[in-house]
Symmetry: C2
């Protein structure tokens, strides 16, 4: 972005009104709070204008005008992000796809769903289910988040161990480049080796390389049988051994493998309806495991047998297997105490990834280092271990007077030697930009900058985010 070349905002807004129609360009109070910040609630800012295009062509016209005017544009989805990637600056123009929503086609032979970017994840999920399929992407924000944002951030969520991230669900993508050129690669084919696979350039680029307008998503068959267990373990090595043992027996029918360290587990239990742990004793580590298969007649005997075998060989210390949907919900409620973090804690959240085998050691070193640095800190460790994704949350109230940034820097410093990732799933956005060099080398950052410049030479797309 070259601010001195930027044309006057008034002229740009006038040109946008001419191109899109007056009702598609909002300014001032007509811009609602939703456009000002995301679920981080970080510094809400009213953008200079909000565009509400109705078509890919509208998006193309809008970007061509902004490109010519050197006018920064912030693409916005459902505003449920956790990295500030869609928060505007006051001089930015926000571009929301709310009016370009809906399912365009469900192809049962190809097992694909063609959707517009403004479609909420839940609407897409429901369309898949109505046709006898499943969309293998699910997040807590499903009712608000939009497919465009899901893909722009390569969302993770609840089913990654089984079916991969948002990226893995995409067969075709339509993107508008900064200059208004439309790349329409909406193929439904699984295999397509005709030149560079452009969709991968944009998925996960957080709106800095193009605006996603449509996608062809892969559908999966519905899994008819689901079994849930809570397992008590001796420690982290036992958890990895169990994970390998279960995937050896069940492949990606293992749908969740969520590890909870005791502080987290105990906090989670206190928030459940019963307030009691399903185990009589306390244990060094807990795993919440879900098995989901296609055989509707599977009552879970093989899964139970696998856990019984693990008990007998002392791979695990104890296990509780849900006997009903209500049982399963009660076990999940322990893990889902995270929904209460924003109201019960002053959460300093981490979303890191570390090679699976090194997570246990990292947690131990990290806890010890935090205790030395800030005695009395309260920190919860938990994660999607099958995906190499560790979450930790420091309660800011337990480290009064300490800036959140100091905590971030402290933990990320410990991550660097492991070649860990400062963002497993939430993305970099605005809030983690300073920490990107922890996970990316100088050469990688230079290559990213070269690509950014090639695809967005005027630097108008989401400036100040990611890079």
């Amino acid at each position: 972005m070259t601010p001195d070349r930027r044309k006057p905002l008034e002229a740009t807004v006038a040109a946008l009104r001419d191109a899109l129609g007056a009702d598609a360009v909002r300014v001032g109070d007509a811009i609602g709070e939703r456009s000002m910040t995301d679920w981080t609630r970080h510094a809400p800012t009213r953008p200079a204008a909000l565009l509400l295009p109705r078509s890919t062509e509208d998006v193309a016209r809008a970007l061509a005008i902004c490109h010519d005017a050197y006018q920064p544009v912030v693409p916005q989805g459902g505003m449920t992000g956790l990295a500030g990637g869609a928060i505007p600056a006051a001089t930015d123009i926000a571009l929301a796809l709310d009016r370009f929503a809906g399912v365009e086609e469900l192809d049962t032979a190809a097992a694909t769903l063609t959707v517009r970017a403004g479609t909420t994840l839940q609407v897409a999920q429901e369309a898949a289910i109505a046709a006898g399929f499943e969309l293998a992407l699910d997040l807590g924000a499903r009712g608000s988040c939009q497919i465009g944002g899901n893909l722009a951030t390569n969302a993770g969520g609840n089913r990654v161990i089984q079916s991969g991230t948002a990226r893995d669900q995409v067969l075709g993508l339509e993107v508008v480049l900064a200059n208004g050129a439309v790349l329409s690669s909406l193929g439904k084919m699984v295999k397509n080796n005709t030149g560079y696979d452009l969709k991968h350039w944009f998925i996960g680029s957080e709106g800095t390389l193009g605006v996603i307008t449509r996608a062809v998503l892969r559908l999966h068959p519905q899994r008819a049988a689901r079994h849930t267990a809570l397992v008590a373990l001796d420690g982290y090595d036992a958890a990895v051994a169990l994970l390998r043992r279960l995937t050896q027996r069940f492949g990606n029918d293992i749908a969740a493998f969520e590890i909870m360290w005791p502080d987290f587990y105990d906090f989670g239990v206190t928030l459940t309806a019963s307030g009691r742990s399903p185990f009589a004793a306390a244990h060094p580590l807990y795993a919440l495991i879900e098995h989901a298969g296609f055989d509707a007649d599977d009552a879970g005997e093989r899964f139970s047998t696998a856990l019984t075998d693990a008990l007998e060989t002392q791979t695990i210390r104890d296990a509780v297997i849900a006997q009903s949907v209500a049982d399963a919900r009660a076990l999940w409620a322990i893990r889902e105490c995270t929904a209460e973090f924003p109201v019960r804690l002053d959460p300093i959240n981490f979303d890191v990834s570390v090679p699976i085998g090194e997570i246990g050691g990292f947690v131990d070193r990290c806890r010890a280092a935090l205790d030395r640095r800030w005695p009395g800190n309260v920190t919860y460790f938990f994660g999607h271990i099958g995906d190499s994704n560790l979450h930790l949350t420091v309660d800011g109230r337990s480290v009064p007077g300490v800036a959140h940034d100091d905590v971030y820097a402290f933990v990320y410093d410990m991550l660097a030697p492991l070649h860990g990732s400062v963002s497993a799933e939430h993305g970099i956005g605005l809030l983690k930009r300073a920490y990107l060099p922890v996970s990316r080398s100088r050469e990688e950052l230079a290559a990213m900058a070269a690509i950014k410049h090639a695809l967005d030479p005027h630097g108008i797309l989401n400036p100040g985010k990611v890079l």
Copy 2:
């Protein structure tokens, strides 16, 4: 590439000798035939020099020298490609990774294999199996092809329906850019949303954006039970119905779903040991299906039952289920008659992809059009339908005097309105470059060119390929 800026070859070769050592730089007769062409046997050409680097640093030094000299470089793997992507021009320098081979690490906790680019696929497969895992990438060329080439071409092969293409096996990648900068993104993490996912830029780019030197590959648990069946069908719609029915019951335990049209099937049968079809009657269409699960105790009852159900509901006309490994091999032998194509035919091969639901109609129209245009043509249709990948092979001997290019153009013209792909898995390379616009729009090609220029401003990497 700007030929007029190119420095004299002698000076470049001398600089390469200084940097890599004399034995790592071959010229003239010291360059074997293997470096001159690939499995297409297209116009063998001796490159101006052959580099045999021993390390990533060697590759970096070599590319930095060639970048400064505006000297074209052709990266080469096992030379088993089917699109001419690694065939040099006489003024190119070839760069082979044969000396940078071998498994560097197998991490059983992370389920990853870190390999050097010059490692053959088979060596990598064997390392995975020895540790109790599987590499979910398999090709006929496994003994010769190299991991670097597999990833540079996003190889497909035998297991795509179950586990995806080569791209889907990659967690981390090390690449040397044209200017010698090393992008080392060798993370073992499944989830990593820290800026652009660089590995995807290079996978499938056929050596035009960088030279892959190392990779971290994802390992899968071994599938303990395997069941094979040959099925006779009424037609293509029945095949799609059966595919959906089986994936609904077995998910990605369906490991192969190979469709054979009668001409292909009959030809295949004549080449088997018995020379006889397992079915008493002839049928409109045949499917070879493999089920591969994790339960070692599964004798295949559920798979047999699914086929019996399909017979009863008339989704299929007949089925033969292999009762032994020998039976299964005999059924596969029909499909694998393609190995005989080069010696028994003058094959004009197509490797296209079309949305699954449209393949049947495309085959019918294509056959009718070929018969009108070239009466008496002999054409075999078959494909990995679960992957949307159709192969067809015209026997050039049946259309004497017709240029292969005329046949290519004729078939690709029929593909364009379906938004099909001229290369599902083999890539574009040298041989399909003229047909890339059938599958890619002007805007897509312009975006590819912009990216190519950003990452390889002197145009030294595999010039004349893909773009």
